[in-house]
């Protein structure tokens, strides 16, 4: 079933793991949760569980800060919403999907925040044909994610919350304070009480924080968690390899992963993001987002290109050109910074380590 979709939802993609965890989960669960907090932790951070069929390895899905995941789980079990903030490409959305799928069994009850998001898209709207024929009644009501979450006792995910206008964001305040949604058109039947298990997971990226800053009142109703980029090169390499493998599987690209190229890319992204090479030389940081998600995208593009147009081997020329496309998007200066990275860092590594770094240095001529 998972092969039918480009990106199946988490609860489908990891159905086996979720079922296995559910079958062995004896921990205490908050009302309406599918798994206990400990099992949710295992689902996201990985581990080994003993099932009736023997031991089963649960894959780690989120890398970086385990304590952050633990705090997220406890926040969601309480009466405050969870707001994940951080730079683009730091897996905020993925974490929110994983949490929703593990806690509620569903990760698709989502509002995507944009400048055009209205209250209707968050709370409810009407089936106007039915509204005209029957008047305001429950049948004519079209539930939006917030109402669905409240009625079913599941999480409502609000992506990119700061992209929506401030007054729309603030419509969440009363719901989060009182856990009641009033639909005045339904008169006496219009009060919807949130069922146990309801909560909101918001995400916001810090580069857009100035677009529509959240009000203090709304902030008070959330616990904030800042998701940082992965700081460990080794870990970043692992993520690139794992994600590229998954994407290749979904895209039916039957090709082994070039781990050396993955390491090269992980080092490049890490050093450009931190603004310093592993040898301690200072670098100019590009303005572009140097996230692990971007690195995965660059690597997968290179893999696809090699699979469809090449001999299946990773071509560093392609890698460099894809890197160029990913880094030099908005700012002209980024091209110079990337060139300078090759002149300084790659050259230094080529001299000390040789091999693939020398090949990589040769591709600098394509940076234009």
């Amino acid at each position: 079933m998972t092969n039918e979709y480009i990106k199946p939802p988490v609860e489908i993609r990891y159905k086996n793991e979720l079922d296995a965890l559910k079958s062995v989960d004896i921990g205490k669960k908050p009302e309406n949760w599918v798994l206990s907090p400990k099992a949710v932790r295992t689902f996201i951070l990985g581990g080994i569980i003993k099932t009736a069929d023997g031991k089963m390895q649960i894959k780690r899905k989120f890398y970086g800060n385990d304590a952050l995941v633990e705090r997220c789980i406890i926040t969601l079990a309480g009466n405050r919403g969870l707001m994940l903030v951080g730079e683009p490409g730091t897996a905020k959305t993925m974490l929110s999907e994983l949490l929703s799928a593990a806690c509620c069994g569903i990760s698709t009850n989502t509002v995507q925040g944009t400048a055009g998001t209205t209250e209707d898209m968050i709370k409810y709207s009407w089936n106007y044909a039915m509204l005209l024929s029957k008047g305001p009644c429950r049948e004519a009501l079209v539930s939006a994610p917030l109402l669905i979450g409240m009625e079913q006792g599941i999480f409502a995910r609000f992506e990119e919350i700061t992209r929506t206008p401030a007054e729309i964001q603030d419509s969440l305040i009363s719901v989060m304070s009182d856990q009641i949604l009033n639909i005045p058109e339904l008169e006496n039947e219009g009060l919807v009480f949130a069922k146990q298990g309801f909560n909101i997971i918001g995400t916001a990226n810090t580069r857009d924080k100035g677009v529509n800053e959240m009000s203090g009142a709304l902030k008070r109703r959330f616990n904030f968690e800042t998701v940082e980029p992965v700081r460990d090169v080794r870990l970043e390499k692992e993520i690139i390899i794992r994600e590229a493998q998954d994407l290749a599987k979904t895209g039916h690209i039957d090709q082994p992963i070039d781990t050396d190229a993955a390491e090269l890319l992980a080092v490049t992204y890490h050093e450009l993001r931190e603004g310093v090479t592993s040898e301690g030389t200072k670098l100019e940081k590009p303005n572009a987002v140097m996230s692990t998600a971007e690195a995965v995208s660059v690597f997968y593009q290179t893999m696809s290109s090699a699979y469809y147009y090449g001999d299946g081997k990773t071509d560093l020329k392609e890698l460099t050109q894809n890197l160029l496309g990913a880094v030099c998007k908005e700012n002209k200066d980024d091209l110079e910074k990337l060139k300078s990275y090759f002149r300084i860092a790659v050259k230094e590594k080529s001299a000390s380590e040789g091999g693939i770094w020398t090949e990589y240095l040769d591709t600098a001529k394509y940076l234009k």
Binding site: D66, A67, E70, T75, N79, F222
Partner: protein, 798 residues
């Protein structure tokens, strides 16, 4: 692993049995659970003697530490002067602290022993012997600013620890320790706890090689401790030894095999080695303060210990203490205007409990609290500024109190000298607010002495006093002031700094002298050496012959013109002030002469100095001019030759060139021609050269103002320069021209104006002062203006 792989139980390696005559109790320094279990063990085992890991030359001080009046944090301060060169040919001084807080197992062992009437003593090698047996850059001889005897780094940073943290999904060793030892250890029996400690410590030690252990003195120390334990076993039926867990296996194996080596300790005089108790601070006791001296956030754990001692059941102690800290953090946030509501505090409390349950902890600890604050108090992205609540919590958990030594007969000699001097000068040191005092430098001898005392305290970095007014000899400002104003207050850092300098001398004067000598010995730059000499001058310390030789060596070896030039300026200042300050400071004159010799030869090369050094170069040239005019006449000819040589260089900076010609003119007015020729050549040049003429005039007029007064040639040339430039170029040179004329007195400006007016057949008063406008005429103009506006607006109407 070889040593331990053959055993199924750790008790098979090191037994812990109350029926045995000897018990070895392993501890981690400053660990509350170790202290709590140790107190239980002492009460259950009832030993005849308790032997504690610690340099045995502090045995006489045990009573001071356990004195009821003594408040922790306190420390034993050890010092050793290697005059006999047992350690190295450098004959250096060494010092280290052995800190105690209420969670320290060693302190609790001493205190419990005193309460139960049991003899207790330290059994480690004296501090000097530890140093002598330690290899360079290892252990207490490692390259750190501050050394602690209770360094736990081997227990904390072993490969085993890293693996443990990875395996248990915990961020740091401290988090691991709190979860599995501090909190869970309270639920164990003494025997089970000790076995758990042994397991951990034995595996940690397994990473170490015999060579490593020998190099940092561990083997020699364990041999000595084993000797002392063996001696105690002869005279006592029950002996309890309390040592760092790292030594447990080594000690047990030595005692079991009876392979203890005989030793011979070095004979040292009392002057070279010593120990005394000192007040210590929680900030310094924190393992995060720069050296691994036990536990992090010591005040938090002291609060835990306090609750443990006063309760029958340890359950809930951590949760209570963490809650207290949470409430304290909320209050402190309020004081810092950080909006934290009770709802946030309540959310944090739920978060702590939830995290503890999720992580399988029986109680919340410090790390659950930190996570709870991160999640509930930080609104928005976590940044340095938004994470302030965490910093506040860390500060509260670290503590800011300073201890107190109850027995005043055992204070550090420097603190004693400080208190005596404060008494002599009637300085108030027991006030909580800063005190202000005015010091007359030259009317009474006492005033100068007090000023020197304050300067000495500043030099030692004690944070005791700060000069708010008075002559600043380092910057050569306010030299004419005859009074100094000082603000002083005794703060905890004062004691700490004085204690730190104990190895430097037993009086403040001696410590300053030693510090100054040491700094000079390690210095390579003339300007810094001169700075130290100014400090010495202000402190009233005449340099020893060695220091003078050292200073001269620095001058000889420093090849930086500017460093030597800056030094010269300092030395000239000191020479000038010797008489006024009634101080013999012969070093200044010798050093100034040596500086002159060095920089005269280098001066011609300054002709094309870089832009950012031009002003300083001129300042040094003036200083040299002053030196040869006032005192060092023997250097005048060389100086003039150097200036002439500079003027003869091809690629000269115009400002430096102007300054050089100005100084030469000041020495000999007949050299006016040289300056005129130089200026006229600037005028004859192209646009860029002409612009440089302004800088030349700036340098020239600054060095020789009167050159413009003798005749009008420079005024004419200045006029030619200004008139020959277009508007943009004039704007470009305007700043330099303004600076060139800024050095003149009002009378000289008047004279210049007269000369300029003569040039244009004008009245000099017109040039300097614009004619005032007639008030009636001004108001009449205003009225006409209004009328015009009125008429125009009427015309515009259709």
């Amino acid at each position: 692993m070889d040593r331990i792989s053959g055993y199924s139980q750790v008790s098979e390696i090191i037994p812990f049995d109350y029926s045995q005559p000897f018990l070895l109790f392993p501890v981690r320094h400053h660990s509350p659970v170790c202290s709590w279990q140790l107190i239980r063990a002492i009460k259950e085992y009832q030993p005849d003697v308790i032997l504690i890991e610690g340099p045995e030359n502090a045995n006489d001080m045990i009573g001071v530490l356990t004195d009821e009046r003594t408040k922790l944090p306190a420390a034993f301060y050890y010092y050793y002067k290697d005059r006999k060169k047992f350690i190295s040919d450098e004959a250096e001084d060494y010092k280290c602290y052995y800190p105690f807080i209420y969670t320290s197992p060693e302190y609790n062992a001493l205190k419990t022993a005193a309460a139960m009437g049991i003899e207790a003593r330290f059994i480690d090698l004296p501090y000097s012997e530890i140093l002598i047996t330690t290899a360079e850059n290892k252990g207490l001889r490692s390259n750190k600013d501050k050394h602690s005897y209770t360094d736990d780094s081997r227990l904390i940073y072993s490969k085993f620890c890293k693996k443990l943290c990875e395996k248990t999904d915990l961020r740091t060793f401290e988090e691991f320790w709190e979860k599995y030892f501090e909190i869970e250890g309270l639920r164990l029996s003494v025997q089970d706890f000790v076995q758990q400690m042994y397991t951990y410590c034995i595996i940690s030690r397994n990473d170490e090689t015999e060579d490593d252990l020998a190099a940092d003195g561990t083997l020699a120390r364990e041999n000595h401790m084993a000797l002392r334990i063996k001696e105690a076993l002869k005279d006592n039926k029950k002996v309890l030894a309390v040592t760092g867990g790292f030594h447990s296996l080594g000690l047990y194996e030595l005692l079991k095999s009876d392979n203890i080596q005989k030793e011979k300790l070095h004979k040292l005089s009392q002057k070279d080695e010593g120990c005394f108790p000192v007040a210590y601070s929680y900030e310094a006791a924190d393992a995060l303060s720069g050296y691994a001296s036990g536990i992090q956030r010591p005040y938090f754990y002291d609060c835990v210990m306090n609750k443990l001692i006063h309760c029958d059941d340890p359950a809930g102690v951590y949760s209570d203490t963490v809650l207290d800290l949470l409430i304290g953090t909320v209050r402190a946030c309020d004081k810092h205007d950080i909006p934290v509501s009770m709802a946030d505090a309540s959310a944090a409390q739920s978060m702590m409990s939830g995290l503890a349950a999720l992580r399988g902890c029986h109680e919340c600890g410090l790390y659950e609290l930190e996570d709870a604050i991160t999640s509930s108090f930080i609104k928005g992205e976590k940044t340095i500024s938004s994470a302030l609540p965490i910093d506040i919590m860390h500060k509260l958990a670290t503590g800011d109190k300073t201890g107190h030594i109850g027995d005043i007969n055992h204070v550090s000699p420097l603190i004693a000298d400080f208190e005596e001097q404060c008494k002599r000068f009637r300085l108030k040191i027991k006030t909580v607010t800063p005190n202000k005092t005015e010091v007359s430098l030259f009317t009474t001898a006492n005033g100068m002495e007090l000023s020197r005392f304050f300067h000495r305290m500043v030099f030692l970095g004690t944070d005791f006093a700060q000069r708010t007014k008075g002559p600043d000899l380092h910057r050569r400002k306010d030299r004419s002031r005859v009074r100094e104003e000082w603000v002083y207050k005794k703060v905890p850092a004062t004691d700490v700094a004085l204690i730190d300098h104990t190895a430097d001398g037993f009086t403040i004067e001696e410590a300053c002298r030693t510090c100054a000598s040491r700094t000079l010995r390690h210095e390579k730059h003339c300007d810094v050496a001169a700075h130290i000499l100014v400090d010495c001058f202000q402190m009233g310390l005449e340099l020893s012959d060695d220091d003078k030789a050292c200073a001269e060596n620095i001058l000889n070896s420093d090849g930086d013109f500017f460093s030597v030039g800056r030094g010269l300026r300092h030395f000239i200042t000191l020479m000038e002030l010797q008489q006024l300050y009634n101080t013999e400071f012969s070093a200044a004159e010798n050093c100034a002469k040596r500086c002159m010799t060095r920089i005269i030869t280098a001066l011609p090369d300054m002709a094309s100095v870089k832009d950012d050094h031009i002003a300083e170069c001129a300042a040094i040239m003036y200083a040299m001019q002053k030196a040869v005019t006032d005192g060092f006449r023997e250097y005048r000819q060389d100086y003039e030759n150097a200036l002439l040589s500079l003027c003869g260089k091809s690629d000269k900076d115009p400002f430096v060139y102007g300054t050089a010609l100005g100084i030469l003119y000041a020495f000999d007015p007949h050299r006016r021609k040289l300056a005129e020729q130089a200026m006229s050549s600037y005028l004859k040049g192209d646009r860029n050269v002409q612009i440089q003429g302004a800088e030349f005039l700036h340098g020239l007029f600054n060095a020789a103002r009167d050159i413009i007064m003798t005749d009008d040639s420079f005024i004419r040339m200045t006029d030619t320069l200004i008139c020959g430039l277009d508007y943009d170029d004039f704007i470009e040179i305007l700043p330099s021209m303004k600076l060139a004329f800024s050095c003149f007195t009002p009378y000289e400006i008047q004279q210049t104006a007269t000369a300029v007016a003569k040039l244009y057949d004008a009245d000099s008063a017109e040039l300097l002062v614009e004619k005032p406008i007639n008030e009636r005429l001004y108001s009449f103009g205003g009225e006409i203006d209004k009328e015009i506006v009125k008429l125009l607006s009427e015309e515009e109407k259709p």
